[in-house]
Amino acid sequence: MGHSMTVDGSPASCRASARAVRRLGLEMEQAGNCLARVRSLGLSGWSGEAAEQFGARTSRLIDASDTASDGLVTFADALDARADAIAEAKAEMQRARSVAAKADIAIHGDSFPSYGEVDLKPGQEGPRDHGEAIVTRAREAEEAANTVFEAAVAAARSLTWTGEPASPVGALASPTDHLPDLTPLLRDVPGTPLPMPDRHDWSGLSSLIPALVKEAPDLTRAAGRGLGRKALGPLKAGFDQWLDDLPNEDLSIADRLLRAGFVGGATVAGGAGAAYLCTQFVVTAPLAPGCAYVGASAGGEAADKILEYADAH
């Protein structure tokens, strides 16, 4: 039985594939460089917890891009080596044919003849042996190259993209997850009513009433903070009521004191209540002083309306 001189595979096809893989590898490298610039530029204008996560996420992507780029370039090299091996094996088989042709040894198909397959004339044994040795060495070299290439294929198939967790958007997916990063900015500036999962829902406000009563002293202080320079607001509200009641000669002094106290107390209660509610939500917590002011105004107005209604009836 002769020695097959068939060499499967296309060097041109392997090289075309290698070029494409190498281009992709270079794109990955460019992506890594781009990410490095993005990280550098981003961190030059961004600081805080979210910025740290941004930096960490970008770093992961840079590492992943570099790893992928290295893996792709290595595989491209392997494809080129495979193309060279196939081309060399084909060339060696062609050289064996030439040796046989020069010695006028008949070749049938793609099989180099063994002893007994063809009738050798004197002087043909040496060239036949030479040709057979060429075919054998070429086949061994091809098999060795194939083993190396299969290892490269296995390495390419084991490449992983380590830049991203399962979530397509990842850690920065929800901006509200990072509101703690933003809220410090708003410590002195009232914020925005974004949802805060770790605080009470509005539907749970009724449960706050007992706590509201229990924490009245603290709330009064909170209202006081909120009222700031307007700490005399309740007294002023009560005094205004006193002045309003002056024309009403039917009222006794006790009535007047009661009515003024009612308006002043409602002002304090409104401010304290509003301040407390604001403190129960992260986003509105910085607003507590403003809430107290608004609540106090609302409390005073409500007391006025109640007195007007009572007087009318």
Partner: protein, 94 residues
């Protein structure tokens, strides 16, 4: 005060860079399968796997760009509200 700092004029340029790079990877991520002789089946499998990796890489860049855009939008919303409330509070103080 907080150490928080965010300059939208700087950060705003980042998503576009990432999206361009993602598109470049996308353009190069369709690979010809080699005729590698005895190893052709394995090589084609590796090529398919590499295309998958390239897709994930592009998705990651898109995802980062989207996340940065979301941060910019969140900042813009908060900034608008903060400006309004700052105005109101200053008005109250005055």
């Amino acid at each position: 005060m907080s150490d928080f700092e965010f300059h939208p004029d700087v950060i705003g340029s980042l998503p576009t860079r990432l999206l361009h790079r993602s598109a470049d990877i996308g353009h190069e991520s369709t690979l010809p399968s080699p005729d590698a002789g005895a190893a052709t089946a394995g090589a084609r499998s590796a090529i398919t796997h590499i295309e998958l990796i390239a897709g994930r890489a592009a998705d990651s860049l898109d995802g980062l760009a989207d996340a940065i855009t979301a941060c910019l939008e969140a900042y813009a919303e908060v900034d608008d509200d903060a400006s309004l409330m700052l105005h109101l509070r200053m008005e109250m103080a005055i």
